[in-house]
Amino acid sequence: MTMIFGIPLQAFLGQLLIGLINGSFYALLSLGLAIIFGLLRVINFAHGAQYMLGAFMAWLLLSYLGIGYWPALILAPLLVGLIGAVIERTMLRRLYTLDPLYGLLFTFGLALTIEGTFRYLYGASGQPYATPALLMGGANLGFMFLPIYRGWVIVFSLVICLGTWLMIEKTKLGSYLRAATENPVLVQSFGINVPFLLTLTYGLGAALAAIAGVLAAPIYQVSPLMGSNIIIVVFAVVVVGGMGSIMGAIVTGYLLGIAEGLTKVFYPEASNIVIFVIMAIVLLLRPAGLFGRDA
């Protein structure tokens, strides 16, 4: 049998694939963060909470309205995006003229509130959410047993990431977004409705988080804590990527997911800090991050 680093090639491939699944979540989440940061200069600490909200929304839709996975995949992000938009409209927007750290602090408070509310209402141990019937079961790939649902996660996240990237890089909307990041007042003086654009962006970022949440619901326990567990890692992903580019956020997300996955095989104890270690190394060698623009 072929061996790689002392483990069979097949197992190695399996772990690679699993890393990719993890990476799908990182990519979706860091993408949303990068978009929100890019335009609003807000580090959205509530991103984890919005991810959790997405998952819970799916669960709530199912248990109270009987709405299943597929509609939820659209409805939940829509709802979360809407909530995000309302928050941006009513509160977050007052902070743009201030130092960016206030945005961070506000969303931190928001995250605590959302998470606390769900913990209060639904407890910490989480809720079950079943895999949709269509994606039940698994496929034997020869080197591993791949649950079909996980394959779906990879494919769907790739589609969403690429779609978002295309929308931002290749359309006029994207250049509005990028320009408004630098000088919103000027862009507005050109006749572009920047406030609306900002609302839209925050809503979009939140919706992306929610998509990740819905995708996660059948895999992970739908729990109020699921967001805060992942968000700090995603921050590190973002630092490694450097928030210069949307593509950077996506690629780094997948790469670090794989790196983490492989660490789980070779040195499991370090798998939660491997991303932080990579972050430190990247900071030493390329302070602006892998894809950061300014040197």
Binding site: D99, L101, G109, T113, F276
Partner: protein, 333 residues
């Protein structure tokens, strides 16, 4: 570059700031602290003082250098572990134990700072958060911290060999003394030539470089000082409560100290004291009430950021009364 400025200017503009008013305020404040144990629960007061010192040290970085660290819990909790371990396992006297905590926190600060100052603004915040999280995992796994049990039953020992710190009153005045010394040190750093350079770096980093200041060294120095003073608070807390646990190194603790500083007033010297007092009281009160703590904390955070950015003390300085008394708290965007 951070475009936030919060300056407390006491030393200058003597014509507008009758030094007497401030001396009176200082005197009354100190008297209150000296008499407080007559009215309040000493451990509760000591906890406030520890957190206040923590928040003041944190504020040294945020309020005066413009660096938002989201990882200060590492220095606080780290120092608590170092002190607790030294006192309990090696049997060193309390003052030495605290000193070890401070040194440990400073070293930790040097390492974290070394990485973090490479980036600015929110990146800085995220890097400190991530590194602190690494330290959290280290504490979780390292043997000497005893995992989730924590280092328990740490003896308070005898200060200078003869003052019995297990007496609450003795302990309280010891804590108060350390607190006052810590604050005095922070005040001195802020209102020093060095502090002035920090301020200018926050204002315009490139210009500071072109004036010949090695910005990185200044930032790192400020970071290490803040970490060391945070360590002072952490070591002290370990002695007050006689344990050191994971709570103090968790990222939620880093968030809490920000809340305290924000509530009290970023960039004000004594604001964090009020912030800490309020948060500790709130947590104690909420513990026995029906309200879920996290929700309330979160809402306080949001309201603060949206409506009272200057914090309690900042708002006071900025009020008509505060200005009349000669305080000034500038907050520009």
């Amino acid at each position: 570059m951070l475009d936030m400025t919060l300056t407390l200017e006491l030393a200058k503009r003597k014509e507008r700031s009758p030094a007497i008013v401030q001396t009176v305020f200082l005197g009354v404040g100190l008297a209150c602290l000296l008499l407080a144990p007559l009215f309040f629960y000493p451990v509760f007061l000591m906890k406030i003082l520890c957190f206040a010192l923590f928040a003041c040290a944190f504020n040294l970085l945020l309020g005066y250098t413009g660096l938002l660290s989201f990882g200060h819990a590492a220095f606080f909790g780290g120092a608590a572990y170092f002190t607790a371990h030294a006192v309990k396992e090696w049997g060193v006297p309390p003052e030495l134990g605290i000193l070890l905590g401070v040194v440990g926190a400073a070293l930790l600060g040097a390492v974290v700072g070394f990485f973090a100052i490479r980036r600015q603004g929110i990146y800085f915040a995220m890097i400190t958060l991530a590194l602190a999280q690494m330290f959290y995992f280290f504490c979780l796994q390292a043997g000497f911290t005893r995992g989730e049990d924590g280092i328990q039953s740490v003896p308070r020992g005898h200060l200078l060999g003869f003052i019995d710190l297990s007496q609450p009153t003795n302990m309280y005045y010891f804590v108060l003394a350390v607190f006052v010394i810590g604050i005095a040190m922070i005040w001195r750093i802020i209102n020093s030539p060095f502090g002035m350079i920090l301020k200018s770096i926050r204002e315009n980093e490139t210009r500071a470089i072109s004036l010949g200041y090695s910005v990185r060294n200044y930032k790192l120095a400020a970071f290490v000082m803040s970490a060391a003073l945070t360590g002072l608070a952490g070591g002290l807390k370990a002695l007050v409560f006689q344990f050191a646990t994971l709570t103090d190194v968790s990222w939620q603790m880093s968030g809490e100290v920000i809340l305290m500083t924000l509530l009290g007033g970023i960039g004000t010297l004594i604001g964090p004291l009020f912030g800490a007092g309020l948060v500790v009281t709130l947590q104690n009160y909420l513990a026995t009430s029906e309200f879920p703590v996290t929700i309330i904390t979160g809402i306080v955070f949001m309201v603060c950021v949206l409506l009272f950015r200057r914090g309690i003390v900042g708002e006071f300085y900025n009020s008509r009364l505060g200005r009349r008394l000669g305080f000034e708290h500038r907050h520009k965007h």
